[in-house]
């Protein structure tokens, strides 16, 4: 039916039972799908009294109205839950094939509640649901399990956790299609806490498209625009996302050695150019994606997907490591164990600084490439030093009395872009609803890549407007659900038209951005309800007080305070960072909040 399947699958693992009921189509119109729909459902289902690793937390898997339509990059899906890492609302989304296949089973949403008495895996074949005993699969790593459950990209797709999720690491990811990850914020631990090892999907239903002619035209125009953009037709296919390594390093915004520097002398050795020349076997793509940024790489020890830019940075510059083979291998290991590479790498970097400064007793030192893989193994199994690193850098640094050395926002490790050289990016991290994250809005486009046009990266006044627009836009894109890389060649107005063609509901560009704003505010309300306040909208003290020591960002700190004040005002929030009644009424959220209060 018009993009959406119109059905929710609701699974209770405690009783190993399920039900299916209609999707509220007014809710779908207002929140579209993916992240938006997930946030709206989580608001009702999981309150502040719920421990993220208890049976009362839920996993909400969602696709969107564009998923599986064949529109470029319409392969993605989302999971929403309360994060065991941050305690905030969490959504993570992933590409590959699983999302497309899930949509074809006939459901838009799968809610997973409760906790199975013993390990299980779920098989969804079209609308048929089967619970299988997973006792013998428990303990298996991701690659072997994916193969055992008969992954077949276009027909049958496997989503699972590895040992890290089973051992409730708060930085555990959920993996799909072998190497793709719902990575951030620890959704793998939530799945592990439910004794759910895997979900396998097979489907045959294709989503309906209302205006096929208009859709065909948008498909054609999008293809042309992606071909015309050097980013999507040359840089990403040729070098993958790691193309950003030299770019970020050259402008002095590449966080290095746990954010002690903003340039890495070994950047060239771990760059996209180096990866392509020495380790690339071939390119690969997610379903329906003409960009093909995925790298299949090979070293003497491993062959597989990746690494992406953030993973290369986390185990590279952030750990002071310039050994690209070691980075490729530890990236592959993280995928196999089901660990978030950004958090894992940055937590190791934090341990390196704690150890170098004598606060922690370990052999970890910046540049010790040889210790990356063993440490990651120990993190996934919670053995030896890994037991202390398994829950992320904030818990680790706090244990050793130096929380200021955790490079996190709201407890989530920040990615590669150093806010001292990118003022807008700093505001983005500080206000991100799921913590230190670069996928809640893309200031790199504006401040570095010139998308749509370059703005001054050190400018402070007016930055909040860009951040807000990009946060809202990204929330909408995450709800369609498509890949943000398509946005490097194609503007929001195209997505509004595609959505209109698929659903038959007329969305103007502004309507879509308004949906994004509604989602952002609902996520904020969720965090407020969990006890988050303005004091949590901040960055590590290092970034606010220690100026960049050299390079093109030398002398700069993050000027967060004036940007944050402007941000609250521009968002229509009060000085405590709470959406005002006027803003809630404008977004249609007032009733929801009132209902909650009553």
């Amino acid at each position: 039916m018009n993009g959406w399947n119109g059905k929710i699958l609701d699974i209770d693992l405690t009783t190993l039972s399920f039900s299916s009921y209609p999707l509220d189509m007014e809710m779908a119109r207002q929140y579209i799908g993916g992240r938006g729909l997930g946030a709206r459902l989580l608001w009702d289902l999981v309150g502040p009294e719920v421990d993220p690793l208890s049976p009362e937390n839920v996993l909400i898997f969602t696709n969107g109205p564009l998923t599986a339509t064949g529109y470029q990059t319409s392969n993605r899906f989302s999971v929403t839950t309360k994060s065991p890492l941050t305690g905030t609302v969490l959504d993570a989304n992933s590409g590959g094939y699983w999302g497309m296949q899930f949509k074809k089973t006939g459901y838009d949403v799968m809610i997973v509640r409760g906790r199975a008495e013993k390990p299980v895996w779920i098989e969804i074949k079209n609308s048929e649901i089967t619970f299988h005993d997973a006792s013998e699969l428990w303990g298996m790593r991701v690659y072997a399990l994916t193969e055992k459950l008969s992954q077949d990209n276009n027909r049958r797709n496997v989503l699972c956790i590895g040992p890290a999720g089973e051992n409730l690491s708060r930085i555990a990811s959920i993996m799909n299609d072998r190497d793709r990850a719902l990575a951030r914020g620890g959704p793998g631990a939530v799945m592990g806490s439910k004794n759910l090892k895997a979900v396998v999907v097979e489907g045959r239903e294709r989503p309906e498209i209302v205006d096929k002619e208009r859709f065909k035209f948008m498909l054609y125009e999008t293809r042309k625009l992606l071909a015309a953009s050097p980013l999507t037709s040359q840089a990403l296919p040729e070098f993958g996302t790691v193309v950003l390594m030299n770019i970020m390093n050259n402008i002095g915004a590449l966080a290095t050695r746990n954010h002690q520097q903003t340039q890495f002398e070994g950047a060239e050795a771990i760059s996209g150019e180096e990866l392509t020349e020495k380790y690339l076997v071939r390119n690969a793509s997610c379903w329906a994606c003409p960009i093909g940024c995925t790298r299949i790489t090979k070293t003497g020890k491993v062959e597989g997907e990746g690494p992406e830019f953030e993973s290369t940075w986390a185990f590279g510059a952030q750990c002071g490591v310039d050994d690209l083979a070691a980075i490729i291998e530890v990236n592959s290991l993280c995928n196999d164990l089901g660990l978030d590479t950004i958090s894992a790498g940055s937590t190791i970097a934090c341990a390196m600084e704690l150890s170098e400064k004598g606060y922690m007793d370990s052999d970890l030192r910046f540049g010790r490439a040889d210790l990356l893989a063993p440490t990651v193994e120990e993190m996934a199994y919670r053995t030896d030093i890994g037991a202390e690193l398994s829950d992320g850098s904030l818990r680790l640094a706090t244990k050793y009395g130096h929380p200021e050395l955790s490079m996190t926002a709201k407890g989530m490790e920040m990615p590669a872009y150093d806010p001292r050289g990118l003022q807008g990016q700093g505001l983005l991290y500080a206000t991100s609803n799921r913590g230190g994250c670069h996928m809640r809005g893309n200031m790199i486009g504006l401040e570095v890549l010139g998308l749509p046009k370059l703005i001054d990266r050190f400018q402070v006044q007016g930055k909040s407007s860009f951040v807000i627009l990009n946060q809202n836009s990204n929330a909408a894109i995450d709800s369609l659900v498509i890949c943000k890389f398509i946005n490097m060649g194609v503007a929001d107005e195209y997505f509004a038209r595609v959505l209109s063609a698929v659903t038959g509901i007329q969305y103007a560009t502004g309507d879509m951005i308004k949906v994004g704003e509604r989602i952002w505010n609902l996520e904020r309300l969720y965090n407020n309800r969990e006890g988050f306040t303005t004091k949590d909208d901040t960055l590590p003290p290092r970034l606010l007080t220690e100026a960049a020591v050299d390079g093109p960002s030398q002398g700069w700190v993050s000027n967060l305070e004036p940007m944050l004040k402007e941000y609250y005002r521009s968002r229509g929030w009060d000085e405590n960072g709470v959406p005002t009644p006027k803003k809630l009424a404008e977004l249609g959220l007032a009733e929801l909040v009132e209902l909650q209060r009553s």
């Binding site: 042309k224 625009l225 504006l446 807000i468 627009l469 929001d492 038209r497 560009t509 402007e566």
Partner: protein
């Protein structure tokens, strides 16, 4: 106090609009949105020769003393900001585009660049084509679906995240209209080089 970086951006785009013949000496205007505020050209100032005091900061949602100094088109800028995701507006009087707006309901470029970028530019009409609420609403409504529109016989309104971007759409439109004019003058049969070109009319 307006940041020097913001002033320089206004000055450069304003100067380029004038030198590109897209405005008269005192015509056109530029603005950006900073959250709940608007920075807009002072009434009567010359875009081609902007000084720091020619930029007026005023509230987006209600009047303050800034309105006494702001451009006569403040109302339309505010209305556009309140109804679209725009962060910047470029209003100018591109001559060829204005000429085409007198005889058609939309401008569908025939050149490759503008076909890629604009697809179609709708033309809206308002008897009092300057500063009225009716005109502001019509322009804002059209800009909900298009990044640049023409007001018949008057000029273009383009939106973007930056002034740079809004200027880009404006100059692209004028270039497209000049090409259309040349093609008309050459007056030879048009050889279609774009697939699905008829769909541009419905974009």
């Amino acid at each position: 106090m307006v940041d020097t970086r913001i002033y320089e951006m206004f000055r450069e785009i304003g100067r380029d609009l004038y030198t590109a013949n897209m405005i008269s000496s005192h015509g056109g205007n530029l603005s950006i949105r900073l959250g709940d505020r608007v920075i807009i050209k002072r009434r009567g100032a010359m875009l081609g020769q902007l000084k720091p005091h020619d930029l007026i900061e005023t509230r987006l949602d209600k009047n303050d003393s800034g309105v006494a100094l702001a451009s006569t088109e403040l109302l339309v800028h505010r209305t556009v900001y309140m109804n679209t995701p725009a962060l910047a507006i470029c209003h100018c009087h591109p001559r060829t585009a204005v000429a085409f707006s007198l005889s058609r309901d939309d401008i569908v470029p025939i050149d490759n660049e503008a076909s890629y970028l604009l697809k179609k530019v709708p033309i809206v009409m308002e008897e009092f084509a300057s500063g009225t609420p009716q005109m502001a609403n019509k322009v804002a409504d059209a800009l909900r679906n298009y990044k640049i529109i023409m007001l018949r016989g008057h000029g273009s309104f383009a939106t973007g995240q930056t002034l740079d971007e809004a200027f880009f759409w404006s100059s692209t439109l004028e270039e497209a209209c000049q090409i259309m004019l040349y093609a008309k003058q050459i007056d030879e049969p048009f050889i279609e080089y774009r697939k699905m070109s008829e769909a541009y009319n419905k974009f």
